[in-house]
């Protein structure tokens, strides 16, 4: 095993046979265990104007409205001890409703949507809340194995407030029949941890008659109370 300092089975291993691209990219040597707290330091402080107010609405980037099911995803970002991760940068990207990314490497034969880039940014507020207005992404095929299709998902990148909180993850949708057969989702060893990547339907987070609401909370690593160097 090339892992893990955290024996909680939350994060996937580097080598996961079912996900083909890990085979030549997973380290084979043991990871170097560091002294406790060695990387426990404050992280980058992103300037306030790095994010514009409209950056969290992916449906208003063009003159027209994007195709698909309008949705709102909101939630709180917390650390392991339940403290809000306030004023931290959240970046998302996703396929359009047809399952196509507005990205030069995506060659999937589904249409681009001229009114949708699938890219958004937001800061959390002081209580750790974020919110995005978007379109429900489509599922899409990928070459990992025969009949491989990724479940519908939104990519989340979290800067947190410290380097050890840095996280890139994916948000999935409840009841997706592709989840049980998706190697990326199932690379997470612990089943309960896996289900934490699934948003819940939260109608009250939506807009009546306009957008369906989802709730997706994210828990980042805890920062020790007395970080080194402070």
């Amino acid at each position: 095993m090339n892992d893990l300092t955290r024996p909680d089975n939350v994060d996937p291993p580097y080598l996961f046979e079912g996900y083909r691209s890990t085979r030549l990219r997973a380290p084979q040597q043991a990871l170097l265990a560091l002294p406790p707290g060695a990387l426990d330091m404050p992280g980058p402080r992103v300037p306030a104007r790095f994010v514009r107010d409209s950056d969290n609405d992916l449906t208003t980037r063009a003159k027209g409205h994007p195709l698909g099911e309008k949705m709102i995803v909101s939630g709180r970002i917390l650390d392991e001890s339940g403290r809000a991760v306030g004023r931290s940068l959240v970046e998302i990207w996703q396929a359009n409703s047809a399952g196509r990314y507005d990205h030069p490497s995506d060659t999937h034969e589904a249409p681009l949507d001229p009114n949708f880039t699938g890219i958004g940014r937001a800061f959390t507020d002081d209580d750790g809340w974020y919110r995005f207005v978007t379109i429900k992404p489509g599922a899409y095929p990928w070459g990992n194995h025969k009949f491989a299709w990724r479940p519908q998902h939104i990519h989340f990148s979290l800067l947190g407030n410290a380097p050890i909180q840095r996280l890139v993850t994916q948000m999935y949708f409840p009841g997706d029949p592709l989840l049980p057969i998706d190697p990326v989702y199932n690379s997470v060893p612990d089943e309960r941890a896996r289900t934490r990547m699934i948003a819940s339907l939260a109608l009250e987070n939506g807009i009546e008659g306009i957008a369906l609401g989802y709730r997706f909370d994210i828990v980042l690593a805890g920062v020790s109370a007395t970080p080194l160097g402070i």
Partner: protein
């Protein structure tokens, strides 16, 4: 204790979303020796990793808070088709100056963490962080080599000459 949210791969389609303007030019206050870090990321077959995201952090950047643009002390760049990346910064302080490095890529279900040092290998071996491998030849994988005006540091994800990555 709330359970952590697991990591998932950044996938192949992140670059339009995570590309920052001037992301490879680190903002720092004050003066200092400029450092240009250039490197190539390769996989277990020696092939370039053309879809990786490289982030570096030098802790405690000095200077007043800034209102716009990129955060101080932080770089984020993607690799090119040849697996190469380039970061412009200034020499970090200390006897063994270094940048903390985080790598993301398709095929990496979790980020890889490591460090790159701009110091002679002997000074790097004395870094307490590396105490448990101080006498290992693998320490050399963390040392950037001066080549003309640039520092060169290649990252091997797997196999011969595999870079030392941290459990964190």
């Amino acid at each position: 204790m709330a359970g952590r949210t697991p990591s998932q791969t950044v996938g192949p389609f992140f670059s339009e979303a995570l590309r920052w303007k001037d992301g490879g030019k680190v903002r720092l206050a004050g003066e200092g020796e400029s450092v240009v870090l250039v490197g190539r990321i390769t996989d277990g077959a020696g092939a370039p990793v053309a879809d990786a995201l490289v982030e570096t952090w030098q802790a405690f950047p000095e200077g007043p808070a800034v209102a716009e643009g990129n955060p101080r002390g932080f770089a984020r760049v993607e690799t090119g088709p040849d697996g190469m990346f380039r970061i412009e910064t200034r020499m970090p302080p200390g006897k063994a100056p270094c940048l903390d490095v985080t790598l993301f890529a398709r095929g990496l279900l979790r980020a890889l963490r490591t460090r790159v040092y701009f110091a002679p290998e002997s000074a790097v071996r004395s870094d307490p962080l590396l105490a448990s491998i101080a006498s290992s030849p693998r320490v050399a994988t963390l040392v950037a080599r001066r080549e003309g005006a640039e520092y060169r540091w290649n990252v091997r994800l797997q196999g011969e000459g595999e870079t030392v990555f941290f459990a964190a």
